[in-house]
């Protein structure tokens, strides 16, 4: 891992990208319609009951859904759309997790590249203890590592 990547980690930044074998219109639908979203949003092992999903896909609109773990534990998920630019871009924030995610859809031939860029970290990483741990030691350590990496 290079030093700059580590610096991104500190802001809680991450990028995940995948070319999926489907036209962009369909991928957009998958992310914006409850009956599609419910199928994949939980990922493997976690289900999302379609009746728990409400989405108002427009800037300022909100979404809510419940993720159900294999042991039955329910994890409510809610957020707000910041940008909705059909069919290429969705930006949403989640107040509970402190994240903002930008999802972009790009046509690659007849396939679609989905890129998720997520920024932000939960509250607990921003407390006084975290400040002491990071801001002091890590910042300077990192600056140091960066300088050496560049030199």
């Amino acid at each position: 891992m290079s030093a700059p990547e580590h610096k991104d980690d500190r802001r809680g930044e991450l990028t995940v990208s995948r070319v999926v074998d489907a036209p962009r219109e369909l991928v957009w639908q998958a992310f914006t319609e409850p009956e599609h979203l419910a199928v994949f949003w939980g990922g493997p092992g976690i289900s999302v009951p379609v009746e728990s999903v409400t989405m108002d896909v427009r800037p300022g609109g909100s979404f809510e859904l419940t993720m159900v773990a294999p042991d039955g534990t329910e994890y409510p998920n809610r957020g707000e759309y910041v940008e909705v630019d059909k069919p290429s871009r969705i930006v949403f924030t989640e107040p509970d997790t402190g994240i903002t995610a930008t999802i972009t859809f790009a046509e690659v031939g007849d396939k679609t590249e989905v890129t998720i860029r997520q920024v932000g970290v939960p509250e607990r990483f921003l407390g006084p203890e975290a400040e002491a741990g990071f801001a002091a030691t890590f910042d300077k350590l990192e600056a140091l590592l960066d300088r050496w990496a560049d030199g």
């Binding site: 998958a30 990922g43 493997p44 970290v121 203890e129 002091a136």
Partner: protein, 114 residues
Amino acid sequence: MTLTEERLDAAFSALADPTRRAIIIRLSEGEATVKELAEPFTISLQAVSKHIRVLERAGLISQGVDAQRRPCRLETDTADELVNWITEQKKRWEGRLDALEAHLEQVQTKESNG
């Protein structure tokens, strides 16, 4: 800030050595045993152990108590926790995309058959 500055001084001098910086960078990816840390270097295991002791004294890393492996890890708890959280988040999105791909395939198969 004095204590922190003291720690920083220790950290800075510990990091004045390229091998020790390489060890820190390696540990930023996750914990590793002394043997694993020594692998990329041409120096002896003993020499690496010495570097590890310097980093440990500077409070930059710690060594686990597991008698067998005694893995080294970065001593930045919050940073560790944050990196773990990010790894989880990344996994979550990867999992979502896996499920999305499977779903899109199913939807399109249905469409072409119906």
